[in-house]
């Protein structure tokens, strides 16, 4: 289990990238970390992996301080967004490098997966495409058989087929051992497919955490039209994340928070009442909008 307690980090002693962040990530789950650009997702992963030092707070993994903990790091693999390979190295060379450092590294796994993906293990990685380079990094990471995997922009550059293949490999890794995966992505549809839990990072702290199913069943997009005139105040009993009215039809984004909105809306005798499911991307955007993040100014 990963416990992050009161974590703070600033790069200039003034503006905090992470501020008093608290979060708990359970074992054997895929935790998706979302947030706007600069929210601190990558910084958080780097602190967990002891690349950066936190100004305050602590990261506990399996109840041990994770900072610079060599033993614990045997069970942690980090694949950053900006990949690095030693100049002139082949996939085999990289695998040997990992093997020298990770006790549980499985060389056969690398060879098998590389064969499946038709990656030449003896070709220089520098000659590979961006997607192939990411494949190499992911193969090496998975071959470590580590308990905790940290992926920053995991599937960036992978084609849909390879993406699906790696999702399968992640699922296999989780079923093989109690693997916990923490991944960030801007592509929320991707996280939607694979993640069990989601944490929204906003202004340096976790705004909300939820499992994906709860998140999606708690928020709805509702299109409604009432007899007579109505406005936002009509729905003041509900927690509206967004309200837009075009003509006589209003589109509401409702956060249920345990309440039954449908009962209330039906009591208004609507002409039209449609409940539409939200994609994770929409959930993310509306949550952010509710917090004052102005997408309209950007879009």
């Amino acid at each position: 289990m990963i416990e992050i307690k009161n974590l703070s980090k600033s790069f200039n002693h003034q503006d905090y990238v992470l501020e008093n962040l608290n979060c708990t990530i359970k074992n054997n789950a895929i935790y998706g970390l979302v947030g706007a650009n600069g929210a601190g997702k990558s910084t958080l992963l780097r602190i967990i992996n002891s690349i950066y030092t936190a100004d305050n707070g602590i990261v506990l993994i399996d109840n041990e301080n994770a900072y610079d903990n060599e033993l614990l790091k045997q069970e942690m693999v980090f694949v950053p967004d900006d990949l690095y390979f030693y100049p002139g190295y082949t996939l085999m060379d990289m695998a040997e490098f990992y093997k020298a450092l990770y006790h549980k590294f499985d060389m056969n796994y690398v060879i098998n997966i590389a064969n499946t993906l038709k990656l030449d293990i003896n070709a220089k990685i520098s000659s590979f495409s961006k997607g192939m380079k990411r494949q190499c990094a992911l193969i090496c990471a998975l071959a470590c058989n580590a308990k905790y995997l940290f992926f920053d922009e995991t599937f960036d550059g992978l084609d849909p087929v390879v993406r699906k293949f790696f999702k399968k490999l992640l699922a296999e890794a989780m079923s093989r051992q109690d693997t916990t995966i923490i991944m960030t992505s801007h592509n929320l549809r991707e996280l939607e497919d694979i993640c069990d839990n989601l944490g929204l990072l906003y202004k340096g702290s976790i705004l909300f955490e939820s499992d994906i199913d709860t998140l999606k069943t708690n928020m709805f997009k509702v299109q409604i039209s009432l007899k007579g005139d109505f406005d936002k105040k009509t729905f003041k009993k509900l927690k509206l994340l967004s309200y837009k009215k075009v003509g006589s039809v209003a589109t509401l984004i409702i956060d249920e928070e345990g309440k039954n909105s449908k009962e209330f809306l039906e009591s208004l005798n609507p002409i039209i009442l449609d409940y539409l499911p939200l994609t994770l991307e929409e959930v993310f955007i509306y949550q952010m909008e509710a917090l004052g993040y102005e997408f309209e100014n950007i879009l």
Binding site: F11, S50, D68, Q74, D82, Y84, F97
Partner: protein
């Protein structure tokens, strides 16, 4: 305690593997060059006494680029975000990374120095022509191991402090050069001073000393102070890579070695703690802290300001203008190079200009205000001539008196002397009269005598006879030590270079040498001459071209000038008979009159023909054989004509 928590062998192995090409080049280039150098030495010399400096020549050139290459291979990952992510996310903690890389680098340096030492040792063992004492190999090993490790650790420290490579090089330069720069400034201060020597002993004679109206001179003359023009030396004991600038005959300097050891320990501990706490997000820029950036830039302004100060001194207002512009440009360029941006241009420029003015002020105070324009040497602690301390107080006084004497008529000789006064060293030339020269010679002989008494004959590394290296066999060593007391029978001052042996022994990081008469033992003399003759014959036999034989030392009772003139042609025309004679009929017999034949090539080869009378007959037979040859006749005519012309010139 688990050693693995400090040193991760796998991590080191992988680090070396990823840079194997560059490391192989770095660690291999100097040994290869050294091998080539030794082979060249073997081919051009028949006996080379290698000094510490000669042995260190190419190793010295690697002192910066090899540690730099190692340091970059092991630590430069901290300059790139991607490589920081890659390395620090691996199951190796910071303590282990630093210690593994540092020890790994030191081990590679150790390997490099061992390799070079081994090469020198093997060449010394295999080829008796190369004299490389074991003690010198130890010195080489210790000195260069510590020097390379020192530079490596300085570079490591600079790398963990700085955010990019350029800045780390700037910091390295600051760490290495800051103290020597200040010492250089102090030296310049000394060299701008006028020096006077106090001479008020009974031998001082200023009757020929004139001031020609110079007030300063007259003022000092009243106090018996006379102007001298010494070269001033300060005992710097610089650390590497400036050890070559230490004022010693050898680069090896024990104080420098101790300094480097202590500083290496300090730097590595400091670098360790900095690395453990290093903000790894601080890369691709000079420093996170603006203060430290400006501080380091300020230190680099020290030499820039000094150059500007020199310009200002010479050119007044225009100089100031140029200097200020140069400082502004430097300030901007420095920021662009180290931070890849014009960093806080106004603040940065103002700080640079303030520092420049401050440094200029300090230089002005140093060179113009606080400087003592005059220094009087009144306390002479020591006078050294060619490494010999003058112990005779009277002679000391006479030498001091000679330094101020302007009476050129009595001068018979001059010496390079060193005066030690208040721990400072002043080198001067002194011209002396025959009386003082004789005293110096006597003192020198006494000094040599003491040196001989204390000379470790069993540790003799090299014996030189007339530019020829004599094999240091146990037989020769025994002959010398058994007969050394007989040296007292010889007047050393009257012996020429063919009558003495010079013995060298590597002691206290330098060669100590003594001169002894070769004829202290007939057997020794015979051994030396036999070896000399063997070398001569070997050269003649192995040499493809015809050598030029010079009848060098001969008695006119046996050989005429005509013989000497024709000698080369006659011998070359009868070379096989001549070689046969040397091999079988030229047993050394020192009781008989001998002649010396010399060949001057890249090296000089001498031959002693033991029995001049016997060889006279041999030579006559050679001449007889070729007397009808055209070339012989032509040479004879040429000689006769030349001789005739000389007589006419003489008569006229």
């Amino acid at each position: 305690m688990n050693l693995k928590t400090f040193f991760n062998f796998n991590f080191l192995k992988e680090n070396i593997r990823k840079s194997k090409g560059i490391l192989a080049f770095l660690l291999g280039i100097i040994p290869v060059i050294n091998i080539i150098y030794l082979v060249v030495l073997l081919n051009i010399n028949h006996g080379t006494l290698l000094t510490f400096n000669t042995l260190s020549f190419f190793t010295y050139f690697g002192i910066l680029f090899i540690p730099l290459g190692l340091s970059l291979s092991l630590f430069s990952f901290i300059f790139k975000k991607a490589s920081v992510d890659f390395i620090l996310s691996k199951p190796v903690n910071r303590k282990s990374i630093y210690i593994t890389n540092t020890i790994g680098g030191i081990l590679l340096i150790l390997l490099f120095v061992i390799l070079n030492t081994f090469i020198f040792g093997i060449f010394g063992l295999l080829f008796s022509e190369l004299i490389i004492p074991f003690k010198m190999l130890i010195d080489y090993f210790i000195f260069w191991l510590i020097s390379y490790i020192f530079i490596f650790l300085v570079l490591n420290l600079a790398m963990v402090i700085a955010g990019n490579m350029i800045t780390s090089l700037v910091i390295s330069a600051c760490v290495i050069l800051f103290v020597p720069f200040l010492q250089g400034i102090i030296y310049l201060n000394h060299s701008n001073t006028n020096y006077y020597l106090e001479c008020n002993n009974e031998y001082c004679d200023n009757s020929n000393y004139y001031c020609y109206g110079d007030k300063d001179c007259e003022k000092h003359l009243k106090n018996n102070e006379y102007e001298i023009y010494p070269d001033i030396f300060i005992d710097y004991h610089f650390t590497a890579p400036l050890s070559i600038a230490n004022n010693n005959t050898t680069i090896y300097d024990t104080i420098s070695v101790v300094k480097m050891l202590l500083l290496s320990t300090l730097y590595s501990v400091v670098a360790y703690f900095i690395f453990k706490r290093r903000k790894m997000e601080n890369n691709e820029t000079s420093f996170k802290s603006s203060f430290i950036h400006l501080l380091v830039k300020g230190i680099t302004l020290l030499p820039i300001s000094f150059i500007a100060y020199v310009i200002i001194k010479e050119t007044d207002f225009v100089g100031w203008l140029i200097a200020i512009l140069a400082i502004i440009v430097y300030s901007v360029v420095y920021d662009l190079i180290t931070r890849k941006e014009i960093y806080k241009p106004v603040k940065s420029t103002i700080v640079s200009l303030i520092l420049f003015l401050m440094f200029t002020g300090v230089y002005h105070l140093n060179f113009e205000v606080f400087i003592s324009k005059e220094k009087v040497l009144s306390n002479i602690d020591k006078i050294v001539i060619e490494g010999m301390d003058i112990t005779d107080d009277t002679l000391k006084k006479e030498i001091i008196a000679s330094l101020i004497s302007r009476n050129n008529e009595e001068i018979t000789s001059s010496y390079d002397i060193t005066i030690i006064s208040n721990n400072n060293r002043y080198d001067l030339d002194v011209s002396v009269n025959s009386n003082i020269e004789a005293k110096i010679t006597k003192e020198y002989l006494n000094w040599q005598e003491n040196k001989i008494k204390n000379f470790p004959f069993n540790e003799t590394n090299y014996i030189k006879y007339n530019d020829l290296s004599i094999p240091v066999t146990s037989k020769i060593k025994k002959l010398i030590s058994d007969n050394i007391d007989k040296r007292k029978d010889f007047d050393m001052t009257s012996l020429n270079e063919t009558e003495v042996l010079t013995l060298y022994s590597y002691q206290n990081h330098e060669y100590q040498s003594i001169i002894i008469p070769i004829k202290i033992s007939n057997e020794l003399y015979k051994e030396v001459l036999t070896h000399q003759n063997e070398e001569f014959i070997k050269y003649v036999e192995e040499n493809n071209k015809h050598p030029y034989y010079t009848l060098n030392i001969y008695n006119s009772n046996y050989f005429t000038e005509e013989d000497a003139y024709l000698f080369d042609y006659v011998i070359n025309s009868n070379q096989s008979e001549f070689i046969r004679y040397l091999k079988y009929d030229n047993n050394i017999d020192i009781s008989k009159e001998s002649i010396v034949i010399t060949i001057y090539d890249i090296n000089t080869y001498s031959l002693t023909i033991s029995d001049a009378s016997k060889f006279k007959e041999e030579f006559a037979s050679y001449k007889k054989k070729i007397e009808n040859e055209e070339e012989y006749k032509r040479l004879l005519d040429e000689y006769t004509k030349m001789n005739y012309e000389e007589v006419i010139i003489y008569d006229n």
